[in-house]
């Protein structure tokens, strides 16, 4: 079994602690907020000057002055704040966010992250990716474990241009949860029905197996979308 995109997002949501200040990147990370349980109070940051951002605006209720970093119309939760770009990136660069959840093209065993330049891309763009990777305390990566061609994305060393060196703390994929530690990668969980050897076979970098390594506990479809298939 593999986790769906929603499944990966669900698994991240389980780990975000109460009171976390979080920036969610585009793609799978965006889905994380949907899976937060109401017992946790979590504050979402958007690069363009928002803290305490709520869900995407319902059609017909959009405010033309309120978009997120992905240019979607969003909402605010009570207790939020607006500010300018210098403060927004002081929050990022100054280490004030507790979590940045990002996509990845490649992650290396030493925590190096490559997620800003795709191989075929002719016009480069970086946005806030580097600031997030360099600045945030816990950089968590969400990604499929292998490329669409079956090539591992978790490597001994990155081959693509780096977003930041030594920045990733944890990797959430469709088949595993892996910690990046000073001693290397540690497999913490694997998808239901798999085993550590299978995960290793799809991973270029060597994995250590955590003493309490176990299969993920994934419910079926809490929001109507299957989490694993």
């Amino acid at each position: 079994m593999k986790l769906t995109r929603d499944g990966i997002a669900y698994r991240v949501a389980c780990d975000l602690p109460d009171g976390a200040y979080v920036n969610l990147g585009i793609g799978i990370p965006t889905i994380v907020s949907a899976y937060l349980t109401p017992d946790k109070e979590i504050f979402f940051h958007s690069e363009n000057g928002i803290l305490g951002m709520g869900p995407v605006a319902k059609p017909g209720t959009e405010d033309v002055d309120l978009v997120n970093a992905g240019k979607e119309f969003v909402t605010m939760l009570p207790g939020g704040a607006f500010f300018d770009h210098p403060l927004s990136f002081s929050i990022i660069r100054g280490g004030h966010l507790t979590h940045s959840v990002l996509g990845a093209l490649e992650v290396a065993a030493n925590g190096d992250l490559a997620n800003w330049r795709t191989p075929g891309e002719k016009v480069p763009g970086v946005g806030g990716a580097m600031d997030l990777a360099f600045g945030v305390k816990n950089v968590w990566v969400t990604t499929t474990h292998v490329t669409s061609k079956g090539k591992p994305k978790i490597l001994k060393a990155c081959t693509l241009p780096l977003t930041a060196p030594h920045c990733v703390k944890r990797i959430y994929t469709d088949i595993a949860v892996i910690d990046v530690t000073p001693q290397g990668l540690v497999l913490r969980e694997f998808a239901p029905g798999l085993d550590p050897a299978t995960v290793q076979s799809q991973t270029d970098a060597p994995l250590q197996i955590a003493p309490d390594c176990h299969a993920m506990n994934i419910p079926e479809a809490p929001k109507g979308v299957p989490l694993a298939a």
Partner: protein
């Protein structure tokens, strides 16, 4: 009596000259000085150097200016936004220059210019392609890249409210790059939704004090939205 208001965007952009460096506020549509950009498009100066987070969308405002071949160089963090067709077309033909800057570094370089600083060391980019060729320094055990301030001849910003003294206040996510850019332009021109009397903006809520603003034009907001992203 000081009155910084002008009647039209045409007057406001009249002094822009060939080869000028122009900062454009806005992130997506909020805070984008679209009417000033359209006036600049009509005004006709060329070889412009533009500092903006993206590289325009479609063929309106900055997108249109680039499409018309008026922009020599773009300094941006996200010129690969899907709508930046005009930029990407010229870039791939080698007909427009790009200085790619991480978004936080872009904001901080603009602020540094307005704050009279000579430069700063940021961790962002150290050990990456975007740090290559730049001065680096290890400070208290961490590697930093040296970045210089970004000045501009003109800063175009869009605020929600303004008064004749140039005081501005923004709404929701409009502040973004507008606040630092207003401080970094040699001439700062603001497009506002509404002109209010002096005192109409509470001194606690003035986000850009009038000292930074040279001219402002009050015009109903342009209904066109250039950067509505697709639902994701």
């Amino acid at each position: 009596m000081i009155d910084k208001t002008l009647k039209t965007c045409e007057e406001a952009v009249a002094k822009v000259f060939d080869g000028a460096t122009i900062m454009l506020g806005g992130f997506g549509d909020p805070g984008l000085p679209g009417r000033l950009l359209e006036a600049l498009r009509k005004q006709g100066t060329k070889n412009l150097s533009v500092i903006h987070n993206g590289a325009g969308s479609g063929d309106w405002a900055l997108g249109g200016l680039i499409k018309d071949g008026r922009v020599r160089k773009v300094t941006a963090s996200f010129p690969n936004n899907p709508g930046a067709i005009a930029f990407q077309d010229l870039y791939l033909k080698g007909q427009i220059e790009l200085e790619l800057v991480p978004q936080g570094t872009l904001a901080e370089r603009i602020r540094a210019a307005g704050a009279g600083l000579g430069g700063f060391f940021t961790p962002t980019g150290a050990g990456t392609e975007l740090g290559k060729g730049k001065e680096t320094r290890v400070i208290d055990g961490r590697e930093y890249v040296f970045e210089k301030p970004l000045h501009a001849d003109f800063a175009f910003v869009r605020a929600h409210r303004g008064d004749r003294l140039g005081n501005l206040s923004y709404r929701k996510a409009m502040r973004n790059f507008n606040v630092p850019m207003a401080t970094a332009g040699n001439v700062t021109i603001a497009e506002v939704d509404e002109l209010v009397p002096v005192g109409g903006i509470d001194p606690e809520n003035v986000h850009t004090p009038g000292i930074f603003v040279d001219h402002l034009v009050a015009l109903p907001r342009h209904p066109k939205l250039v950067e509505i992203g697709p639902p994701r």
